[in-house]
């Protein structure tokens, strides 16, 4: 297969397959959990569920008073990575063209220089948390294959994207095919790994807040 054929596949059938798996898998996961349902609480409700649920979604994003140094590191590295990743994904002009072809509409892009900077910081944050995972004895002990595998899946689109934009290592056609395939791999693996948090995190936070709210306490 030539690089051109691989690129054509990635832009066509590859994209279709990965999007179908991602959408099907995520929908399945969310709805299965919903239909399994919760045990009915026989106690009398002491507070509402929805309000505290939404509040918890917001509160879990904040820095907590009494956080330790480790906590600060995780939160700062986490935000650096997530913001960089999401801004790169949604505000690079080339990516907006992809969304335009999928959704029928686009939005204004940000300057490529800014996005390159955020992408580099994002990669740096990912490397930092990986090093921490390997060096911290507790984290190392509880880490399994999935933790490392999802790290590779997450960093691959960022690194291949940076290399593509800067003409590094390979010819553009090969690099672009690799970049698209790396993101498609991420999409395919997402519903089956902890990467599904991209959809479930807000549901999970709401759920925790709702239980506590029902009991009349703050989560």
């Amino acid at each position: 297969m030539t690089a051109a054929e691989l690129l054509n596949w990635a832009r066509g059938p590859g994209l279709q397959i990965s999007l179908v798996v991602f959408v099907l898998g995520m929908t399945y996961r969310v709805l299965q959990n919903y239909f399994i349902g919760r045990k009915a609480s026989l106690a009398e409700a002491r507070g509402s569920q929805w309000g505290p649920g939404i509040e918890t979604v917001w509160r879990r994003s904040l820095f907590h008073p009494g956080m330790t140094g480790k906590g600060y590191f995780t939160l700062i590295a986490g935000y650096t990575f997530h913001i960089g990743f999401l801004v790169t994904l949604f505000f690079l002009a080339q990516h907006i063209e992809l969304f335009k072809s999928l959704l029928g509409f686009g939005w204004p892009a940000l300057a490529e220089g800014l996005i390159e900077l955020l992408a580099v910081l994002s990669i740096a944050a990912l490397v930092a948390v990986l090093v921490d995972r390997l060096v911290d004895p507790v984290r190392r002990k509880i880490s399994d294959f999935q933790d490392y595998f999802t790290w590779v899946l997450t960093v691959a689109p960022l690194i291949t994207g940076y290399m593509l934009v800067n003409g590094m290592a390979m010819r553009y056609t090969e690099m672009l095919a690799l970049h698209i395939l790396s993101f498609e791999a991420l999409l395919v693996a997402a519903p089956f790994t902890k990467l599904s948090h991209m959809v479930t995190i807000f549901i999970a936070r709401w759920y925790n807040g709702a239980i506590a709210g029902y009991k009349g306490v703050q989560s």
Binding site: T2, A4, E5, L7, N8, R11, G12, P13, L15, Q16, L19, V20, V21, V23, L24, G25, M26, T27, Y28, R29, V30, L31, Q32, N33, Y34, F35, I36, G37, A93, Q94, H95, E97, L98, K100, S101, L102, A109, A111, E112, G167, R171, Y172, T173, L176
Partner: protein, 361 residues
């Protein structure tokens, strides 16, 4: 035409001055990215070069490559090259026809066995025994295999001969393949493009005439001197791409200001060719300069790359329908399995019998 004439003798006979000849050698050296010091060596070599026999085979093609090469209105590099070779067989340009033409080909093959240059344009159909393109009762496949045996080298001119081109586009009804898919034991130079830039064809021939060797090739067998850089890397509109200034439609303000055509489907980043530097029609212009994005005509499978006006990042097939089905299927499966699990847990709970001390014995 006396085949024993040297190129120098041919040119003097045609009234081409020494000055004109040296200008041609300088242009050749510069095109091949050679230093100016090479010019005397090129001049000396070409002066003494005997006109090699060239057999041009036209298969499943549109004749665009020949048109590209012969569209010249003034003494140009292309003209000079055509004077330097002995074109013994060419469907469009030869005077003979019928059996006389085929005899001319066979005669040239026999007389110059092992030394003639074989130029091929057009793809080779292979389905159903290759009957979709035949000449004088022979399939293209048979002609190619027979003629390639005694060739010194093969130049596959045009994307059809180099990679299969438009006949190979889905669903490829004739089973079209490239020259390199059939012939594997001869040096092949792929001069791709739809059509290739004329100067590129003549540059390759000039290299062969001067040095008797094939030029450095990339991984697709294309001369690096012309196919070493992408259009994107040499495009005069690159600074607009870098600044994020794109034309959104073909007649908006951005298009009129000459901004980057990436969003209108330009395949410049993935296309290797000399269009942005050498340009067309003796350096007049090239597609991007004329306001239309590059569609990658020198790359394999460019016809199946999802459409000329879809930008590189865009999806090339419609995923909406499949995604809709995926959501419905995921929802149905999720609901079904969720309810099943819920029932299973309820049943387990209701059928649970408390343990007593006696059960533990």
């Amino acid at each position: 035409m006396a085949k024993n004439e040297t190129l120098g003798e041919v040119m003097r006979r045609q009234g081409i001055s020494r000055r004109g000849f040296l200008k041609f050698c300088t242009a050749t050296a510069s095109m091949m990215a050679m230093p100016p010091g090479m010019v005397p060596a090129i001049a000396a070599a070409l002066e003494k070069a005997r006109r090699p026999s060239v057999i041009w085979l036209s298969f499943q093609e549109c004749t665009g490559c020949t048109e590209s090469l012969t569209r010249s209105h003034s003494p140009t590099v292309e003209n000079l090259i055509f004077n330097a070779i002995s074109l013994d067989y060419h469907h469009t340009l030869q005077a003979a026809s019928g059996t006389a033409a085929e005899e001319a080909r066979e005669h040239a093959m026999k007389e110059n066995d092992g030394k003639y240059l074989l130029v091929v344009d057009g793809s080779i159909p292979t389905r159903d025994g290759g009957v979709y393109s035949t000449i004088a009762g022979m399939t293209n496949l048979q002609i190619l295999e027979e003629t390639a045996k005694g060739a010194a080298a093969i130049i596959a001119v045009g994307t059809c001969a180099a990679f299969g081109g438009i006949p190979k586009a889905k669903p490829n009804p004739t089973g079209a393949v490239a020259v390199s898919d059939i012939i594997t034991d001869k040096p092949i130079i792929n001069v791709s493009g739809c059509p290739p830039i004329p100067t590129v064809i003549t540059g390759v021939l000039a290299n062969f005439l001067t040095f008797g060797t094939i030029p450095d090739l990339d991984k697709y067998g294309r001369p690096l001197a012309f196919f070493g850089d992408t259009i994107h890397d040499r495009c005069y509109r690159r600074r607009f791409y870098d600044q994020g200034l794109f034309a959104e439609t073909f007649d908006d303000e951005g298009a009129r200001k000459g901004w980057c055509l990436y969003k209108l489907g330009c395949k410049g980043p993935t296309t290797y060719n000399a269009c942005a530097t050498t340009k067309w029609n003796q350096g007049t212009s090239f597609p991007i300069q004329s306001g239309h994005g590059c569609f990658g005509c020198s790359e394999p499978d460019f016809w199946d790359a999802g459409g000329f006006y879809k930008p590189l990042p865009a999806a090339t097939i419609d995923v909406g329908g499949a995604a809709g089905v995926a959501i419905a299927a995921g929802a149905a499966a999720g609901a079904a399995f969720g309810l099943y699990e819920r029932n299973r847990r309820k049943k387990a709970q209701s059928s649970h019998e408390p343990l007593t001390v006696d059960d533990l014995d």
